[in-house]
């Protein structure tokens, strides 16, 4: 049976992981390749690298880093952050990325999804959606710039549109759940999973191991992404997989 995927996410600034990560004993503090290799050895199913660098020089450093990741890591990885043109995606593909994730740039220019899918294949295109639940009703507002700017788009219709335009996966982050560690947005996840025929990655809210189980069972997610619980060693990947296996969830 197809296994549910566990995906650690690494934020990268100027080619280094951001400060404060106290996961395992690393020789070089902040080296993303070493951290990624450690996660791969532990049984992470995929990795996501998000470039949070703003500067032009930083972008170039990130592409160089993607080259090194591709050379050393033997599991699939997605890269995101600051991809707004076909040429950005192409540089990352050529550097060895398996997938790219696009977020704000797709909201501003939805045609970008079509263009990327047509040029590089749907399997290469992850559309990331950050959304916040509206106070009334069952709708979620799509946000950009890390939840700071609200847009006219609504989660479910935007996700369907992204699928129709050629997205290969949807990475949904609930801005209400992100960082709170009280579990994923399972109701919205389940609706996405029922509405769409492409895989859904749950993001935002992981605080304990049961939250992952709930994302897979209640949220019907195909994969679950988390950052801090892994980076700060609150949950280790092997421990999480062991727990999920015991709970009857298929994991690698």
């Amino acid at each position: 049976m197809l296994a549910k995927r566990i995906i650690p996410c690494l934020d990268i600034k100027d080619g280094m992981t951001v400060k404060g990560i106290k996961f395992v004993e690393l020789k070089t503090v902040g080296d993303p390749v070493e951290l990624a290799a450690a996660y791969a050895d532990q049984g992470a199913d995929e990795l996501v690298f998000l470039d949070i660098t703003a500067s032009h020089e930083g972008r170039k450093t990130f592409v160089d880093l993607v080259h090194r990741i591709a050379r050393h890591i033997n599991i699939p990885f997605t890269v995101g952050g600051g991809i707004s043109e076909l040429s950005d995606a192409e540089a990352l593909l050529n550097a060895g990325a398996d997938k790219i994730s696009i977020n704000s740039s797709a909201v501003r220019n939805p045609q970008l999804i079509d263009d990327m899918a047509k040029n590089f294949g749907s399997q290469f295109v992850v559309v990331a959606i950050d959304a916040k639940k509206e106070e009334t009703g069952n709708e979620w507002a799509v946000t950009v710039n890390g939840g700071r700017i609200f847009t006219e788009k609504r989660l479910f219709s935007w996700a369907r549109e992204a699928e129709q335009r050629g997205a290969g996966e949807i990475l949904f982050t609930s801005m209400d759940h992100d960082g709170v560690k009280q579990g994923f947005a399972n109701e919205a996840l389940a609706q996405l999973s029922d509405d769409l025929s492409i895989p859904i990655i749950a993001s935002g809210g992981a605080g304990n191991m049961q939250h992952f189980k709930d994302a897979f069972e209640l949220g019907k997610a195909d994969a679950a992404l988390a950052a801090s619980v892994f980076h700060y060693n609150e949950i280790s990947v092997p421990q999480l997989k062991e727990y999920l296996r015991k709970e009857g969830i298929t994991v690698r």
Binding site: M1, H72, G96, P199, D222
Partner: protein, 202 residues
């Protein structure tokens, strides 16, 4: 393992570098080329690929690579789209393929009702079972490998590994010197590395 002369066939499809990165991790190196002389002389030939079947077949026919690949006598490994193109026919663009294997390529259809919320493409890690090829050894039975595909090869006489997604299908094929995997050994962690090593040992 001594250095081998490995060729990765270059054509209009992506994902060629990842295969070479995997070879580099095994202290080998592939030459990415479409040069017939180099392909014929290689110890091992890898035919990778991610892309669309009918446009890729058109390219292979026009460049003469189609005829060349069929006549190779050294061990050849097709990966993902490479495997599908080695079958007899693909529903993707309704195109006749290389015909190295008799099996046909079909599109996954979601079951109705879809009670398990299955998705297309199959994306992620699934198990390989009923292994029957020198590509594998007993330690690999039931192990997880990484898949990304919307089309599959039906079961047949060349089936060398079986995977279950929606229904059982061929996740690897073998006939004589031709080997193929639907999954990506280059992205399948230590299990994939073992399979690539087994191929290099042939």
């Amino acid at each position: 393992m001594t250095k081998q002369n490995i060729v990765i066939i270059k054509y209009n499809a992506g994902n060629i570098r990842s295969v070479n990165n995997a070879l580099l991790r095994l202290e080998q190196e592939g030459e990415i080329t479409a040069d017939p002389e180099k392909i014929i002389k290689a110890d091992k030939v890898i035919f990778p690929g991610v892309g669309e079947a009918s446009t890729t077949m058109k390219h292979l026919n026009e460049t003469g690579l189609a005829d060349l690949i069929k006549t190779l006598t050294q061990p050849v490994l097709g990966i993902c789209l490479g495997m599908q193109l080695m079958g007899s026919h693909s529903e993707e663009g309704d195109v006749n393929c290389l015909g190295i294997f008799d099996e046909k390529v079909k599109k996954f259809q979601l079951p109705d009702p879809n009670s398990q919320n299955l998705k297309i493409p199959q994306m992620g890690w699934n198990q390989i079972t009923d292994l029957k090829s020198d590509l594998f050894d007993v330690s690999l039975e039931g192990k997880y490998v990484y898949f990304v595909h919307s089309y599959y090869v039906a079961l047949g006489s060349d089936t060398a590994a079986t995977t279950n997604y929606i229904h059982p299908y061929s996740s690897a094929l073998q006939r004589d010197n031709f080997f193929a995997t639907q999954f990506h050994p280059e992205k399948s962690g230590p299990v994939g590395e073992k399979i690539l090593k087994n191929f290099l040992k042939l």
